[in-house]
Symmetry: C2
Subunit: 370 residues, 2 copies
């Protein structure tokens, strides 16, 4: 225990907070007690912020001075306290009550005369985030403005900490993994080199959920069993019906979820995206429907070709519509669009597609030309 505590004190406090957050409650308390008071306070403060917010990933080890300090005094201060800072690229300028006023890059210190006060060389239009900003948003800001670190302020604009670019890179990897996994129905923390038991636990719930979804399609087919009995080729063609709608839905969902993740799609532009993806679905549906019609009419005759061709057009249109609509709607209701979209969209698309297939089949196959 003492070893752990000593190790934690060596770590920068943002990394220590991540480790401590993983520990069981009792051990966590004890560790925070035995740690050097000041450092422990840092970690506890970080733990007070919600998961995946700027407050949780920031380090309070920033380098800040007041505005009347001169360049040469700043350099002396930096030299004296050099050991304290994880990675200091910027010098923040604050007032006596720690409100953030401006920022000076270390390079500016080298480029200005020693007697200049920081006030004169600071940039006062600081790009900053607040402690409750989502970490994904922080990553977008750092990426957009090419920053090495971004200051984190509280509700009163008091400087609370900084987030450095190395931590942003970790956030980006984590968020990208989350998005990739969610679309495939895998929970985060499932690792290729991890334990088998962990992987089973992370994937089984989603497999059982999609078993449930497939059984809905089974119930639909059971309901329409008489038409299948009359026309056995309807059964033989089911793999096409089952595959194409869900594939198109997955494509659309992937592009839209990634667009939301990269900040390209917002709730405001959501309407445009849904319209666009519906159009794409219709065009792809028309082409796939035509190709299917030609192949199936050569293979199984024109009636089945009409049934399957029409089903493809409508199925891909619906896939495009739901594939865009559901992530955008989830985003509006502040649910992580990547997490919940996949099962919803694929199940809805499949269920509607099977219904359409069998309704169209009933209509077309009953039709007797004079």
């Amino acid at each position: 225990r003492d070893d752990i505590s000593r190790l934690l004190q060596e770590l920068p406090s943002d990394d220590a907070a991540l480790l401590v957050a993983e520990m069981p409650g009792e051990l966590r308390e004890e560790l925070l007690d035995t740690m050097k008071i000041e450092h422990s306070t840092d970690v506890q403060e970080l733990l007070g912020f919600a998961d995946e917010t700027a407050g949780r990933i920031m380090t309070p080890d920033y380098f800040a001075l007041e505005e009347e300090v001169t360049v040469s005094e700043a350099i002396t201060a930096l030299q004296r306290r050099s050991e304290e800072f994880e990675m200091a690229f910027y010098l923040y300028v604050v007032d006596t009550r720690n409100h953030l006023l401006g920022v000076v890059s270390l390079r500016q210190l080298l480029l200005n005369s020693p007697s200049t006060p920081l006030r004169k060389i600071m940039i006062s239009d600081v790009i900053k985030v607040t402690t409750d900003t989502d970490q994904e948003e922080v990553a977008r800001i750092v990426a957009t403005y090419n920053l090495l670190a971004v200051p984190v302020v509280d509700q009163e604009n008091k400087l609370a900490g900084i987030i450095t670019v190395d931590d942003i890179i970790d956030v980006m990897r984590e968020e990208a993994t989350e998005d990739i996994y969610a679309l495939a129905g895998v929970e985060a923390d499932d690792r290729a080199m991890g334990s088998s038991f962990n992987s089973v636990r992370r994937r089984l719930p989603w497999l059982l959920l999609s078993l449930g979804a497939a059984l809905i399609a089974v119930a639909i087919l059971q309901y329409y069993r008489e038409i299948i009995r009359q026309e056995i080729w309807l059964a033989v063609l089911i793999p096409v019906v089952a595959a194409m709608g869900s594939n198109a839905a997955t494509q659309t969902m992937t592009v839209v979820v990634r667009g939301i993740g990269l900040g390209e799609v917002s709730v405001d532009t959501g309407r445009r995206v849904v319209l666009k993806e519906s159009l794409v679905g219709l065009i792809n549906g028309a082409v796939v429907g035509l190709v299917t019609f030609l192949i199936i009419s050569a293979w199984f005759g024109w009636k089945l070709a009409v049934v399957l061709g029409l089903t493809m057009v409508l199925s891909l249109l619906i896939a495009g519509m739901f594939g865009a609509l559901i992530p955008v709607a989830l985003k509006r209701f502040r649910v992580d669009p990547a997490l919940a979209s996949s099962v919803f969209v694929v199940t809805m698309t499949d269920v509607i597609t099977f219904f359409l297939y069998l309704i169209i089949a009933t209509l077309v196959l009953r039709y007797k030309p004079f």
Copy 2:
């Protein structure tokens, strides 16, 4: 044209190279001609390197001095040439023939006495990449060592350029998008806010490919049509057969491809990953098979329950095996594992699953208890 040329000269040369690479050949030549000679040479040199390599994304605007230069001379040099550098965080130390000898951070300049030669304060064990290093590998190195910039050397260890962390962030976003898209069968450059026509062009080929894959399953069902005619419930249960194997395969593939992308899975550890994923497939298959058996035996009787339960166990085992084996094998043959895995794995899993389903059905349904 002159406007474009003037704009390009304003851009850092790595960004200019990216723009010029996108232009049609003739316009590209003209632009390079009209651009200021020196800058144009930079861009042309960058264009000489293969796509997605360090050479292509580096900027040649590095800040390098020789080892006998003192700290105060270095600061003067930095002040004089400050405008030239996109983002200078490190000072590289080279010999007279530009071989990379060491690195000094700008902070070290502030912390050491003015008369110290760079030789004494430089770190000579420099983390560096070569011009042909893959950009994904460069991103991994920068992320692992928390660097702000990494020097790029040629085959003779001569300094060719640097890659800054802001460009690494762009690379990481690009690579993550590529991986996410590839798993869903969408080509890169498909954007939620882009044109409909572009999205159609990017997705249609993959949809037609999966139509082809579904038609293989149709051919299998056609071959076994007599047993389906005898037992219509076999047709009704096809959605479960079609869904579960491909879902499990997609899960496995996603985790393995992401593991390869993050550098956690290599060709050496590939064998272990394939074994682990096969085990996970077997366990998930056993659970899903049991649940399926119980539901189907209550709904359609024990014979169909045995058929579907057994199919699930084998299908999920195969999904785990191929889902890991194919990306690892593609990696060994230097094919991008994300790009090619998806269609292969899902098609193979589906085809084998349908065969197993109908073979098991033939065996079980023919079996007449005494």
